[in-house]
């Protein structure tokens, strides 16, 4: 089937592209679905100085290299927006806005995040008329004017300094006490030394004022509770990001209350065959380098999962003989001894049964599927259907009687 893949990655930022590189190299039929330009948030970053191997590079240039690398391993790309998913079956279904339906054995969610909207009066209606979210895009429209920046993280302060190249004055509205910014120390120091930068502390913004264009902002002081107005022609919002996971709402996928997806060490979500990487997962550090690491981990985990799935489907479900799924763990001696005993028993009578050994350490999805928590354990399958479970006795006769 043309629309059927081994691995589909939703999102084309550094996490998604790294997963694609690993997926492609593992010879998985891999597709990246991306709604905008390749590179995600990195595409909006002017300068990256902390991605290993690149002393200084622009975001778009770095992402072009990532994409080229993925294409080198025959990864396919589709420019579309995903609007709904069905992860309930073994074959995962993805639907796009243009009505395309795609399927995959495993899916990696690398959807990233988007700017948070404060939803204050004037923010929406004056968008493009003075309200802005991207300094690279819009700073030059404020040549010689007064601009307000809301927020004090890396992005707010660095973009704010970029805006000073054009604006007459940039006033930063900061939630914290005087002198405290959320951004890195180097940027903070530069900002304090920038003559065009001013700061209003302990404050937030209540409304954007103006009819046709931005004429000012209403500022609330959090300490005194008092409000004041400040005249300006532009307002740039940098008040953090929210994960772009809204289309997954009804998929059964677990998220925290802010929408971030919790995963384990292998980037596995609560759903089998579904992984989450990069900015849309719960994590400590949101950088290109950590996103790339996530992508690699998830692709390897997905590769193992798919391999297991394929093996299981071709060897277990289609087997003429009854299958004994034998769950073991090398750390549990009892399970190894039992394994030897059972194998000995079956070799005497190889016509009816075949043993399929499952290592609990690597084949977690199978263990999960049959809800195995203790080893040794044996599930008896006939044409893929469970017919019974064995009492894992070390008594040979007792064991033998269960198999007759």
């Amino acid at each position: 089937m043309a629309n059927s893949y081994d691995l589909i990655i939703i999102g084309g930022g550094p996490a998604g592209l790294s997963a694609a590189i690993y997926g492609g190299r593992a010879k998985l039929k891999t597709l990246v679905i991306n709604k905008g330009t390749i590179g995600g948030l990195v595409d909006t970053t002017r300068e990256i100085v902390n991605y290993p191997g690149y002393i200084q590079v622009s975001g778009p240039d770095l992402m072009k290299d990532f994409k080229k690398h993925a294409e080198h391993f025959n990864v396919e790309f589709l420019k579309e927006e995903v609007i709904s998913v069905d992860f309930s079956q073994e074959e995962k279904i993805i639907k796009t806005k243009k009505g395309k339906e795609l399927s995959a054995k495993a899916v990696i969610l690398a959807c990233g995040s988007e700017p948070r909207i404060l939803n204050i009066p004037g923010e929406k209606t004056l968008r493009g008329s003075g309200v802005a979210y991207c300094a690279t895009c819009d700073a030059e429209f404020f040549e010689g004017e007064d601009v307000v920046v809301v927020g004090s993280g890396d992005q707010a302060i660095e973009e704010g300094m970029y805006i000073t190249k054009f604006a007459r004055k940039v006033t930063v509205i900061v939630l914290h006490d005087e002198g405290v910014l959320d951004c890195n120390k180097v940027s903070a120091e530069r900002a304090f030394n920038n003559e065009k930068m001013e700061f209003i502390w302990n404050s937030t913004i209540e409304a954007v004022l103006g009819e046709e264009n931005v004429e000012g902002v209403k500022i609330k002081n959090l300490k005194t509770g008092g409000s004041s107005e400040l005249t300006c022609q532009g307002v740039f919002f940098f008040v953090g990001m929210i994960p772009s996971t809204h289309f997954l709402k009804d998929s059964g996928l677990e998220t925290d209350k802010r929408g971030y997806i919790p995963v384990n060490e292998g980037m596995e979500t609560n759903l089998e065959g579904i992984y989450a990487v990069g900015d849309n997962r719960v994590k400590y550090l949101r950088q290109v380098v950590s996103a790339a690491g996530d992508g690699a981990t998830a692709a390897v985990a997905a590769e193992r999962y798919i391999e297991e799935l394929n093996y299981f489907n071709s060897n277990i479900i289609q087997s003429d003989k009854k299958i004994l799924l034998l769950f073991f763990n090398v750390l549990v001696n009892e399970s190894l001894e039992f394994s030897t005993l059972l194998e000995g028993l079956i070799s005497e009578n190889a016509d009816e049964y075949k043993i399929f050994k499952v290592d609990m350490a690597t084949k977690k999805s199978l263990a999960g599927k049959y809800q195995i928590e203790k080893v040794p354990a044996v599930v008896v399958l006939d044409k893929g259907e469970e017919i019974k479970r064995l009492d894992c006795s070390m008594d040979k006769e007792q064991l033998k009687s269960q198999l007759s």
Binding site: G36, K79, G128, S129, T136, F141, N213, G234
Partner: protein, 108 residues
């Protein structure tokens, strides 16, 4: 289908002389939101072939044009009909909003 780029002379001809019903996206190269909106318009364009024009202005190449409409940012899609300005859509707009606005301008 790619959008035809306008400079100020062509802009005058199409908008004010020919009075063509059309939209003009004001965009620039280094703008990631523009890179999402422009392809959306390119895909939409064939549906309106002969009925509604789709044009493109690069604000860095034609500063005078965005200053005339006192625009504060890109991308912005400006709508025109009978030589008159009919409103604009700013930022990351969805296909549906553009279609709606076109219907409104065409009065259908």
């Amino acid at each position: 289908m790619s959008l035809q780029q306008l400079n100020s002379t062509r802009f005058e001809e199409i908008i004010y002389d020919n009075c063509e019903p059309c939209l003009v996206i004001f965009s620039k190269k280094e703008c990631h939101v523009c890179k999402e909106v422009v392809p959306m318009l390119e895909e939409l364009k064939p549906q309106y072939d002969g009925k509604f024009g789709f044009y493109y202005v690069d604000v860095e190449e034609d500063k005078e044009l965005f200053q005339r409409f006192s625009l504060k940012g890109v991308p912005q899609i400006l709508f025109f009909n009978n030589g008159e300005y009919q409103g604009k859509l700013a930022g990351k707009v969805e296909e549906e909003s553009v279609e709606e606005k076109i219907s409104e301008v065409l009065g259908v």
